[in-house]
Amino acid sequence: MVTTKPRTLYQKIWDAHVVERRDDGTCLVYIDRHLVHEVTSPQAFEALRLAGRTVRRPDLTLAVPDHNLPTTARRDAAGQRIPIADGESAAQLAALERNAPAFGIRYIGDADREQGIVHVVGPEQGFSLPGATIVCGDSHTACHGGLGALAFGIGTSEVEHVLATQTLLLKQSKSMEVRVEGELAPGVSAKDVVLHITGVLGASGGTGYVIEYTGSVIRALSIEGRLTVSNMAIEHGARAGLIAPDAKTIVYVKGRPYAPKGDDWDKAVAWWQSLATDAGAQYDKVVVIDAADIAPSVTWGTSPEDVVPISGQVPAPDSFADASKRDAAAKSLAYMGLEPGQPMTSVEIQNVFIGSCTNSRIEDLRAAATVLRGRRKADSVKWAIVVPGSGLVKAMAEAEGLDRVFVEAGFEWREPGCSACLGMNPDKVPAGERCASTSNRNFVGRQGPGARTHLVSPAMAAAAAVMGHLTDVRDLI
């Protein structure tokens, strides 16, 4: 009888994709799915063109514009494209629109119903599949790990490498298990779970690892919640995040436009069911988190690791053991305009952003709408927008009447895209103002020069909008 060593989910996916192994351990790894957007692809296409190269597998590649698109109307009443004022944004978008068809790649255009943020579109279209290797020139590609895909961000040269060869030269990462056990309290969401994990591990705690999220809390999450958790793997430094595909995953994928059909489907399901980590498989590191410790969470600083429960306070820089963290915390507080010891619920906000590849799926919008139904944003909140992750999410939300809930609550209901997650388009938070944001990065200037970001869940963002300050959503439900 053949016995094989017990393997982790990561090891199984890795083994299934190694084309060749070099003596130094570097592997040529096959890439099953490649998502392309307008920001990191122009120079890759340019290089292919200069070298007279083609795209090896255009059928495994999908192009969608998202970062630069305005979230206001893109067509006028006559159906004509409304020009984009920022010339550089327009040039990046035009380059993708030109390059995709020129290289035979399926392109979802700015006015198509399927358009959206790459990391929302991939799973939604059934393009991203469990057990697949998925790359994109974007650091939040780990998102697709929520389906059990090995997904990670790459640079422009690697985009070119994948386009030309459908492979990458990689060294295997170490493996880490982050096990979240117990049951989440009411009002605590997937976003709070991943913010809490980031607080525990620190922004570089996962560096050099691929993290598998396990435990009863992760199993209980919906697929959308799992995508939210895996999305932020990079925020604790991990190369990728993974969650084992299970019955929920299979139900989620079934019937989507590019999902396997017929005979293929049965084979796919059988393989996906074999991927879970074997009993007795060893991780290089294991971190266990108790669900009872996870509260609705907010960030106070300019690193995603700067997490406290909403009932907490702004920490004093002196409270950190590490000298460089003390420095960083002092700088963060100066940038954020916060005082040590200040209760988080006293922090007034002027802007609310519900969107980004972390939290713009239908469930996120439902969670925010549940809090907002029959309520209005505080007058002190000047700008509140909801940016659905895709045109399909938008249509679904409208069919459920969520758009009306948002509009009646004083929110703007926008077209899909990255928007104020990074402000490459006109959606920016003004300098010195605060934003309760459902996105994934609170870096200096991320949402606009001088903008102050507090990362929260969709329900917490809605609660902050209603009260005009950071608020424990549990007081409103």
Binding site: A16, V19, E20, L28, Y30, D32, R33, P42, Q43, E46, A47, A51, R53, R56, R57, D59, L60, T61, L62, E88, S89, A91, Q92, A95, R106, F127, L129, G131, A132, G155, T156, S157, E160, H161, A164, T165, Q166, T167, L169, P257, Y258, P260, K261, D263, D264, W265, K267, A268, W271, M424
Partner: protein, 200 residues
Amino acid sequence: MEPVTTIDGRAYPFGQKNVDTDVIIPSHWLKTITREGLGRGAFESLRQDPDNLFDSAEFTGSPILIAGDNFGCGSSREHAAWALLDLGVRAVIAPSFSDIFSGNAFKNGILTVVLPQDAIDRLVEVARTDPIHIDLDSQTVTTPFQDRFVFEIDAFRKECLIGGLDEVGLTMARGDAISGFEDAVRAERPFLARGVELAA
């Protein structure tokens, strides 16, 4: 990529330490769609000074840059390598480089040469008035004054640079292995082999 065997010519006697990618190419240059033209943004902040090295008649267009410790630290932006290439730089000599920068430089055919600080000091002195010669095959940097410094380089990188082989080209040469793998996937996991062609 153009093969790199020898690099000959004047060298910018720059010598600065901890030059980060923001100094090499400021972030407002990142919204471009081509690699070309980034040379204009290279060292933009330093070039505000009318007497800067990079625009001086004597040094402009030099193929070699001599820098201090930790060159290319900061972000992973590949634009830093593109900007140097567009400026005409084919080799950077420094006591150390950030890993990401040297990887990006290599991918774009720029040779990064690591030499100890005293060698750097001597080269900066020579470069002010005379040319520098780099020979990749013998892994040496020499001057017209009998200076000779030997440097280390990863064997794989050396082979790629001398052959003018970029990583993409090298992997394309493994096309048969990739095709073989694709055939196996088609047989075992056909659902992964089919992509957007499934669209009705």
